[in-house]
Symmetry: C2
Subunit: 313 residues, 2 copies
DNA sequence: GCGAAAAATTGGAACGTTCCAATCAAAATC
DNA sequence: GATTTTGATTGGAACGTTCCAATTTTTCGC
């Protein structure tokens, strides 16, 4: 690999000058700039980001943790993060944790060693120590689509789950449903908790309580689209028709939800916008070496398709 | 951030000794080991991977490029790569290129600067320069699910597309189909080309040629499942029934393909196995600083579900 | 208890940058 | 023409590791 020194020698200048040319940081005569640029082109030199990072004490990398990349919502989140980050010159390290505490710890350790400048958490286990571990070592953290947190050092960017759940329940209640169930991915998962709370609250307002799905529910609200789609699958294999026997509602509006054979009633959220904001927050904090401590709710709209209808008589 | 030196001072030994304790590389007395370990625990020290990388001239990171993370097949590939890599102590940098040459170039530049130890390519643009650019700088590269290549420095791990296409065509031909079409994602994409070749060959064997989908095809073979599912959507919105009017076949067997409302006939491939092998190859090559130059075909099986049937009379 | 061998520990030189203070050259001021 | 100002360029000291040769300490055979 060619180094700054190689380029300097070839161009007949000092390493400092080459560094100045590359980073456009100091004054350098037009003539020498040309010489150096030629030398760079000839040697095919690429600055060594590792050496730069060591000196700068900043890796220009951020981490993102998702529970399941296979879920298009998280995939979109990851894609958005990657795009926004690389536009700012940051690399992205992904951890697919499946909400396993041990995997989360592995990721934390690896990232701490690699000195990531910040972390975006898209999902985590129930009583995860991940945020605390990172924050305690002054790594800025933002929670994306994970609901509130009591740690003021944490950045939070989320959907307006309460409003969304109210809209969903209103829709179902209006159709005549009174026996509503909620399904959530893993009990161990952190997300969904807040949505469940919103769901319960919206029910309570109408003097209802959640029931179990096997308890004769006429409508089930899933905490995300993939879960909703899996629920449809399960119901139909049991011989129940959706929406004739039971209505199903999702959350996220993944592209698939609009598919002709699915047509899922769901809540639209903008993963791309969310990831853009999350990256801005975390990179901003990293650059000023402070914590994020900013919270924000994204608007959300109900999309009624064909998995919801009147309950059976 | 605490450094090796901080730990050394606290434990009252030299930095070399601390280094030896951490890496278990040289002999160190039990007593001092304990002292050092205590100091590490007290300071919450994490070795600085950046400094280590600089010295070792190896980043312990690999890159993976996928055209679209939102496609569950690539998501599975990415997840598999991440898991296998982190088990070996490697970090993974992901690039979602959408098969855009400019994005590919950006990724190449960023990765070259970050000195990735190897790259796994899961998809790329048609005449991509990515492999050459990387190989010329001695970065080992393996193509995953991308078909052959004429560059002997390239590692290749792929499905047995020819066998798969033969099986698909045999299945459709046996059902009575004679007017078959092939749909591929973007024309600009590299993948699918080989599958199309296999498709054509299997047709030719039966004295048939591919026709356009709008030309009254009774069966369409898609180059992957997501494309197949999108095709079903398009057909049904046009008022055609699947499989009564037209049969559809996919490729990959993403989890969704088994869904009750989809039940896609497809070819099962093992993204996880593929990513495991790809990581082994690329890491092995990196460790011995050589190119990969190994090619391997993974077996593949036809899964007949409910999107294929007899052609209309 | 002596010398040699083995075990344990150490300082310093890399790795490839950036950044600062210092130097050098050229232009401008009086 | 001596002096200041400005513009260009430079060497050396970090950044936090690893690795090697060298040194110090311990152990052991006799």
């Amino acid at each position: 690999m060619t180094t700054l020194m190689d380029v300097a020698e070839r161009a007949g200048v000092s390493k400092s000058t080459v560094s100045n040319v590359i980073r456009g940081t100091a004054m350098v005569a037009e003539e020498t700039r040309l010489k150096v640029e030629r030398a760079i082109a000839e040697t095919g030199y690429h600055p060594n980001a590792i050496a730069r990072s060591l000196k700068a004490r900043s890796s220009s990398a951020i981490g993102i943790v998702v529970p399941d990349l296979t879920n298009p919502f998280y995939a979109q989140l990851a894609v958005g993060v990657e795009r926004a980050a690389s536009a700012l010159g940051y690399a992205v390290l992904t951890a697919n944790t499946e909400c396993l505490p041990s995997t989360e710890e592995d990721a934390a350790r690896a990232w701490l060693e690699r000195r990531v400048d910040g972390v975006i958490i898209g999902g985590m286990s129930l009583a995860s120590t991940l945020p605390k571990v990172l924050l305690d070592r002054d790594v800025p953290v933002v929670l994306a689509s994970l609901g509130e947190s009591d740690d003021p050092r944490l950045g939070v960017i989320d959907h307006d789950d309460a409003a969304a759940m109210e809209a969903i329940v209103e829709h179902l209640y209006g159709l005549g449903h009174r026996r509503l169930a909620f399904v959530s991915d893993h009990l161990r998962e952190h997300a969904g908790e807040r949505r469940y709370l919103g769901f319960k609250k919206a029910l309570k307002k109408r003097r209802l309580v959640p029931i179990a799905i096997d308890d004769g529910a006429t409508a089930v609200v899933a905490h995300n689209d993939m879960q909703a789609i899996a629920t449809i699958d399960r119901l139909e294999r049991r011989g129940l028709r959706v929406p004739d026997d039971v209505s199903v509602v999702g959350f996220d509006d993944v592209p698939l939800a609009a598919h002709n054979r699915i047509q899922l009633t769901t809540v639209r959220s903008d993963a791309t916008e969310m990831s853009r904001r999350a990256v801005d927050l975390v990179v901003g904090a990293a650059r000023e070496s402070r914590h994020v401590s900013h919270r924000e709710l994204l608007e959300v709209t109900l999309v009624v398709r064909s998995t919801t209808g009147r309950p059976p008589l």
